[in-house]
Amino acid sequence: MMMIFGVPLAVFMGQLMLGLINGAFYALLSLGLAVIFGLLKIVNFAHGAMYMLGAFATLLGMRYLGINYWAALLLAPLVVGLFGMVIERLMLRRIGHLDHLYGLLLTFGLALIFEGTLVNFFGVSGARYPTPEALQGGFQTGFMFLPVYRAWVLLAALVVCLGTWFIIERTRLGAYLRAGTENPALMQSFGVNVPLLITLTYGFGVALAAFAGVLAAPLYPVSPTMGSNLLIVVFAVVVIGGMGSILGAILTGLGMGLIEGLTKVYYPEAANTVIFLVMILVLMLRPAGLFGKEA
């Protein structure tokens, strides 16, 4: 059997694939954070909770409403996105004029509320969501076994990430968004409804997190705390990449997933912490982040 630095090729590729999947989630989540940060200038601490709500919407939709995976893929981000818009209108808007740290604190409080409420109803152990029938099984690729569902997650995440990049960089709506990021007051004076744009942006960013949650439901146990631990890693990813660039967020996310996967192969003890260590390294060598413009 072929070996790579003393590790069988199949194991090596398998871990790399797992890392890439994790990276896809990092990319989706940090992309949403970056979109929200661009216009609202707040770091959405409730992002992990929204990811978790997306997974729960999928699980509960199946259990109580008979909604299948494919419908959930569309409905869960929609529902969570609308929920996010309500939160933006009722709460975030009221503190928009304050120091942006308040946005972080408010969304932190919201995350505690969502997480705590669901813990009370569903406990912390987590439930399994079955892999949809069409995506069961796997490919035998000669050097490794690739489950169909994992390939699908990677594909779907990449399509959504690139689609988001296309919308923001190549469409008129995206141009408004970028202009609003630069100078919202000027945009408003040109007759663009900036408050509406902000609401939609928050809804969209949150919907991305929920979409990631739906993708994650058949992979990881669906539990109320699944989002918060992931979010802290995503924060580190965001610090590494900087939130200035959409493609930067996607690339950093995938790259960090790969690094995590590689660490799992060669030094599993550090797999949990390697991204934080990379963050420290980046802070020392390039404090603005890999794709950041300002410190």
């Binding site: 940060f37 200038k41 707040i42 770091v43 709460m91 009221r94 503190i95 304050l98 942006h100 740290l101 308040y102 972080l104 604190l105 408010l106 932190f108 409080g109 919201l110 995350a111 505690l112 509320i113 997480e115 705590g116 409420t117 813990v119 009370n120 918060s228 802290i232 890693v233 924060f235 580190a236 965001v238 610090v239 003890e269 949990n272 912490t273 934080f276 260590l277 963050m279 420290i280 802070l283 020392m284 404090p287 410190a295």
Partner: protein, 327 residues
């Protein structure tokens, strides 16, 4: 006396304000000394430890404008180092254990502070959170922390080698003394030229920089003092409860100390103490009520309410009212 006649009205007002303040401090100290005869000392010690923790955090957020989302790391470091040393070396006296634990938090504060101040605002918060999470994973795996179980049965020992701390009353006065020292450090730092520069940085960092202040050095010093005091709180807490556990290292703890400070009043000297007292009491009451499982939801709600409509906090609001009605 001749000197009093030369006092200008401004100086006279200043002198009166100082007298009022000193009298106020004196009353509080007397209350603190009598408190264990009215309330349960262990509960009071918990409040004092968290009050010191919140005061340390407030020095950073309230006066330097730096939101650290990773202060649990320093609390836990103080706690684990002190707990490990006192458990492993029976000859070590508690005050030395606390001193070394605090020193460990200071060292960690230098390292984390130097990294975190390379980024500003929201990034600062995220960096500190990530670094604290790193410490959390470290403490899960490190051989000396007892992993998920934590360190139990840390001996309280004899203060200076001859004052037994086994009685809760003796322990209380020791904790009270530590709290007063910590509070005095914060009070001195805030009212010194150092504190004034911190406020200048908080209000307008580029301006402070262009006035020639070494902004990074000031921020780092504030961070290190804050980390050290948080470590002091953690070390003391470990001796009080004879326990060091992962709870102290979890990001929930970093969130709790923010809430205490926010609820009591960011940037006020007494706010964190009031906030810590309230949050600890609330947790105590809720734990025994049917709402015991809803603690984190209720804390989240308080967070949201504080941010939306109560940003000055309790002490901040009292100060506002006082200024409006009595000045």
């Amino acid at each position: 006396m001749a000197t009093t006649q030369t006092l200008t009205p401004v100086m006279e007002r200043q002198r009166r304000a100082n007298m009022r303040r000193n009298a106020f401090y004196l009353v509080l100290i007397v209350v603190g000394l009598l408190a264990p005869f009215v309330a349960y000392p262990v509960f009071l010690m918990k409040v004092l430890c968290f009050a010191l923790f919140a005061c340390a955090f407030n020095l950073l957020l309230g006066y330097a404008g730096l939101l650290s989302f990773g202060h649990a790391a320093f609390l836990a470091t103080g706690g684990y180092v002190t707990g490990y040393l006192l458990s492993s070396y029976p000859g070590l006296t508690p005050e030395l254990g606390i001193l070394i634990g605090t020193g460990a938090a200071v060292v960690l504060g230098v390292a984390f502070g130097a990294l975190a101040i390379r980024r500003q605002g929201i990034y600062f918060a995220m960096v500190t959170l990530a670094l604290a999470q790193l410490m959390f994973f470290f403490y899960i795996q490190a051989p000396f922390t007892g992993g998920e179980d934590g360190l139990h049965g840390v001996p309280r020992g004899d203060l200076f080698g001859f004052i037994s701390l086994r009685s809760n009353l003796a322990m209380y006065y020791f904790v009270f003394a530590i709290f007063l020292i910590g509070f005095a450090i914060v009070q001195r730092a805030v009212h010194s030229p150092f504190g004034q520069v911190l406020k200048a940085i908080r209000e307008n960092e580029p301006r402070a920089l262009s006035l020639g202040y070494n902004v990074d050095a000031y921020k780092l010093l504030a961070f290190v003092i804050s980390a050290g005091l948080a470590g002091l709180a953690g070390s003391t807490k470990t001796i009080v409860f004879q326990l060091a556990s992962l709870t102290d290292a979890h990001w929930h703890m970093s969130g709790e100390v923010i809430l205490m400070t926010l609820l009591g009043g960011v940037g006020t000297l007494f706010g964190p103490i009031v906030g810590a007292g309230l949050v600890v009491s609330l947790q105590h009451v809720l734990a025994q009520s049917p709402l015991g499982n809803w603690v984190s939801v209720i804390l989240g709600l308080i967070f949201v309410i504080c941010v939306l409509s109560f940003r000055s906090g309790i002490v901040g609001e009292i100060n506002k009212m006082y200024r409006k009605n009595f000045k």
